[in-house]
């Protein structure tokens, strides 16, 4: 297959690609559109993937839709930054606000497996206090989840994804041992460690979702550093190689290249199925329950676009909060140059981190952040040099020659939820004829204070290891969250603790959009833990006849 060749769905014939063998297939159960399946899941990423697998393993009939293709990493993932942009959600979106988000590569994926197919694999737990940040820390909103319960689901997620992490993690309450050992820290990570030690902060090898020893049919990581454009070895424990094959084996059907455009609701106010576009036609799949897991832009877009006479403002939106409280995370960086060779692209990009400022509250702003070692690939790096540093022509060429001496630190910082940061529908339409989402984002003063603090701290760390030509990249943001927040009441949230919408009892949202706050760590492990919990809760509700 070539990058510019339009892909056709692969899972129409009762089989799904076996990601572990070239040209291989695994049998997959097919359901007809007319069959009223127990669950339709929209999106197969960090939320939809585990939920689909667990529901199928619990005996429910499940059909999971994804707008993206079902890739074969061994054959189709090239060591080529440009061609791998096929993994990103690059459909048109309108961005505005004081700090418009840059959509695409850095925050959304379109593939079976979702954004995890090209994510950076950093697998961190929330600080327990963040689940009650309003009560305990004075900002944001409390979650309706108890951190101790989440701790057990984090452990399950870490097991299922074979997270490779240190034998003891320096921050937060005790956690069970990571299933695999941490990876060897590369030179870029060791410089982070040296800087942190010089500042008197603890550091740690980063818990990562890529295996440091064989796991099933996954080989151990080969440290070539192509993780953020898809891993061609299957060392990366993305949804595509973990929960998705599990889901298929347990009887779920995965429909690739199937874009859901609208959720149907009947006169009694219950969801009855979904309209989806696949292989050039619109179809309708009947379902007893519908779960939306399209991530923080597509989830509210779908809910808003499914408005009916009965729900004129969109589904699950009696609170008016669908699409609101969109959050991203600050992803600013400090870059510099070392005398010695670093070769920062060797290995996963973030092999070491410090969570110091997630756990130290002696600062004059709300929220926390961590920072990590960096290893951008050449094209990405050149775009930093042209963007943040304004280099062109000869100057850019000369700077690129220093690639192997470059080092950098990047933060993942907590941005506060704000009512006016939101997703709405625009007047324009996309290739499916669906209204294009408008994404409005502005940083709060607190966000800016946090970013300034982070930049200064990271700069000090680089200075302490003797980096030269240091410069700051002030504009970058990454992970998304919010837009269908969970909460304690139908007035103040879209879904309850079980990810069930307050308004429509058989409509769930299970992805990063349910976050009331986003914390100072990367989100996927929390999303997956929530999905695992949701599956258990759905089973319990079904047993009690409350589904």
């Amino acid at each position: 297959m070539y990058a510019d060749e339009p892909m056709r769905p692969r899972t129409m014939q009762g089989r799904a690609p076996d990601v572990f063998t070239r040209g291989g297939w695994i049998p997959m159960q097919l359901r007809s559109d007319g069959e009223e399946v127990d669950f339709v899941v929209i999106g197969t990423g960090a939320g939809g993937g585990p939920l689909t697998a667990r529901l199928a393993e619990k005996g429910f009939s499940v059909v999971a839709f994804d707008a993206g293709p079902y890739f074969r990493p061994l054959e189709e993932f090239a060591s080529d930054e440009a061609s791998q942009s096929k993994l990103f959600w690059t459909d048109e979106r309108i961005v505005d606000g004081a700090n418009p988000l840059k959509m695409g590569a850095n925050n959304s994926g379109k593939a079976v497996g979702g954004s995890t197919v090209h994510f950076a694999m950093v697998s961190l737990r929330f600080r327990p206090e963040w689940f009650r940040s309003r009560t305990l820390l004075g900002y944001g909103a409390d979650w309706p989840l108890d951190w101790r319960e989440m701790w057990t689901y984090y452990a399950q997620a870490e097991q299922d994804l074979s997270i490779s992490g240190p034998l003891s993690y320096p921050w937060g309450p005790k956690r069970p041992r990571y299933p695999y050992r941490a990876h060897e820290v590369n030179a870029a990570g060791l410089l982070l460690a040296k800087g942190a030690e010089a500042m008197g902060y603890r550091w740690s090898p980063t818990p990562l979702a890529t295996v440091s020893a064989p796991r099933g049919n996954s080989p151990p990581c080969v440290y070539r550093g192509f993780c953020r454009v898809g891993c061609s070895t299957n060392a990366k424990q993305s949804q595509l190689v973990t929960y998705i094959p599990r889901a298929v084996r347990a009887g779920a059907e995965i429909r690739d290249l199937a874009m859901v455009g609208r959720i149907e609701v009947d006169a009694t106010g219950r969801a009855t199925g979904v309209h989806y576009h696949r292989d050039g036609v619109w179809r309708f799949q009947r379902a007893r329950n519908v779960v939306v897991a399209g991530y923080a832009i597509e989830t509210p877009r779908l809910l808003l676009n499914s408005a009916t006479d009965r729900f004129p403002d969109g589904l699950a939106n009696s609170s008016g909060l669908v699409g609101r409280y969109l959050m991203t995370q600050s992803n600013q960086a400090v870059w510099g140059e070392m005398e010695e060779e670093v070769r920062w692209n060797k290995g996963p990009p973030s092999l070491a981190l410090t969570e110091h400022w997630n756990y130290d509250d002696r600062k004059d702003f709300f929220g926390g952040y961590c920072w990590m070692g960096q290893g951008p690939l050449p094209i990405e790096w050149s775009s930093v040099l042209t963007g943040a540093r304004g280099l062109w022509g000869e100057a850019l060429r000369r700077q690129m020659e220093n690639y192997n001496h470059q080092i950098g630190l990047k933060m993942v910082g907590e941005m506060l939820p704000h009512l006016d940061n939101r997703v709405t529908l625009s007047e324009e339409h996309d290739q499916y004829g669906l209204p294009i989402p408008r994404i409005t984002y502005s940083w709060t003063d607190n966000d800016k204070a946090l970013i300034d603090h982070g930049l200064a701290q990271m700069r000090t760390s680089l200075e302490l290891v003797g980096a030269r030509n240091i410069f700051l990249q002030k504009d970058d943001t990454n992970h998304l969250a919010g837009t269908a927040r969970m909460g304690f009441s139908r007035e103040t949230s879209v879904v309850d603790a079980d990810c069930r919408s307050w308004d429509i009892p058989n409509l769930f949202v299970c992805d990063g959009s349910v976050f009331p706050t986003t914390g100072g760590v990367n989100p996927h492990l929390t999303i997956t833990a929530i999905a695992l919990r949701t599956a258990d809760r759905i089973e319990a509700l079904a047993k009690r006849g409350e589904l």
């Binding site: 393993e57 941490a182 020893a213 796991r215 099933g216 151990p220 599990r246 347990a250």
Partner: protein, 324 residues
């Protein structure tokens, strides 16, 4: 569903290697009772005087033990130091020392004489020294990295236990010369202590050290395959029996100790086969051998157990022959 276990050819290969290993370990216990009785009979026949032939046989066995360890060190350090680009000239030392140790061990194996050879002694002493210095180097290297002697550096920095194998090769070789070099009609002594006891104690200690090394690296690999538990379960038992023999009564058969040592020897050999499967499980498998031999599990490392088991068996022979 379990997605942790491999499928396809890898699963078949693992099952085959596992089956062969278990069979080999079981078979290595066969015939021990009979040979035990024979030993007892012979010991009774020569009450009071050690058999000189036993000493030479034991010495040659120790040469083989030393040689096996040297070979393991030679190939292991060649691969690992090549991987490290020989960035320090001293990284050639183990290659030279292990090669020499291997050569004189072969020489000793063919030598049926009763006298120590100065050349062999010098080489063995040199290997022991090189091993000590290497350990020092590795300790120093680990200590200066961020994180110091934390797990991370124990897992990935210069392995502390690897040069110790060279030390053991030198030590066992040196002991072989002492065992060989004894006056007629006397029990072989090392520094005034019965040789069987010294060799037995040294072997037990060596096995424990090697178990620690294997345990550390298999922990790094999360014991992802159940057979990875073998080298940390059977050899320690063998070491225990070996130590019990070294410090216990002499002149009697120890079939269980023999069995466990032989089983450890089997594990050392099958370990290389398992590691070869491990190489196959890396990206690209054996087709990509130039990378995977470096990054995969080390093929030459496990036979260190075989070498030590040979030394343990030599110790048992000496002890069985030693008058009470």
């Amino acid at each position: 569903m379990d997605t942790r276990s491999p499928t396809g050819p890898v699963a078949v290969a693992l099952a085959a290697a596992g089956g062969m290993t278990v069979l080999g370990m079981a078979l290595s216990g066969a015939g021990l009772r009979r040979s035990g009785r024979r030993v007892a009979a012979r010991a009774n026949a020569v009450v009071g005087a050690a058999d000189r032939r036993t000493a030479v046989t034991a010495a040659r066995r120790l040469n083989r033990a030393s040689g096996t360890l040297a070979a393991s060190v030679l190939f292991d350090s060649a691969v690992e130091h090549y991987r490290g680009g020989f960035h320090n000239k001293a990284m050639y030392t183990p290659l030279v020392a292990a090669t020499l140790s291997l050569l004189v061990s072969a020489h000793g194996h063919r030598d049926r004489g009763h006298d120590a050879e100065l050349a062999r002694d010098l080489v063995y002493a040199g290997a022991g020294l090189a091993g000590l210095l290497g350990t020092g180097f590795h300790v120093f290297n680990v200590g200066k990295k961020p994180g110091g002697f934390g797990w991370q550096n124990l897992f990935y920095s210069a392995p502390l236990g690897a040069p110790a194998a060279l030390c053991l090769s030198g030590l066992l070789g040196w002991l072989s010369e002492r065992v060989r070099d004894n006056a007629p009609d006397t029990a072989p002594l090392v520094l005034g202590i019965p040789a069987g006891r010294v060799v037995g104690a040294a072997t037990a200690a060596g096995i424990i050290g090697t178990v620690a090394e294997a345990g550390l690296l298999h922990l790094r690999g999360q014991f992802h395959d159940p057979f990875m538990l073998l080298p940390v379960t059977v050899p320690p038992v063998a070491a225990g029996f070996c130590a019990a023999a070294a410090f216990g009564g002499a002149g009697r058969p120890r079939p269980l100790a023999r069995w466990m040592l032989r089983a450890s020897a089997v594990i050392g050999l099958s370990g290389s086969a398992f590691h070869a499967i491990g190489v196959a499980r890396s990206m690209g498998g054996w087709r990509n051998w130039r990378q995977n031999l470096l990054d995969g599990p080390p093929l030459p490392a496990p036979p260190a157990f075989t070498g030590l088991a040979l030394a343990g068996l030599a110790a048992l022979s000496l002890l069985e022959d030693q008058p009470e």
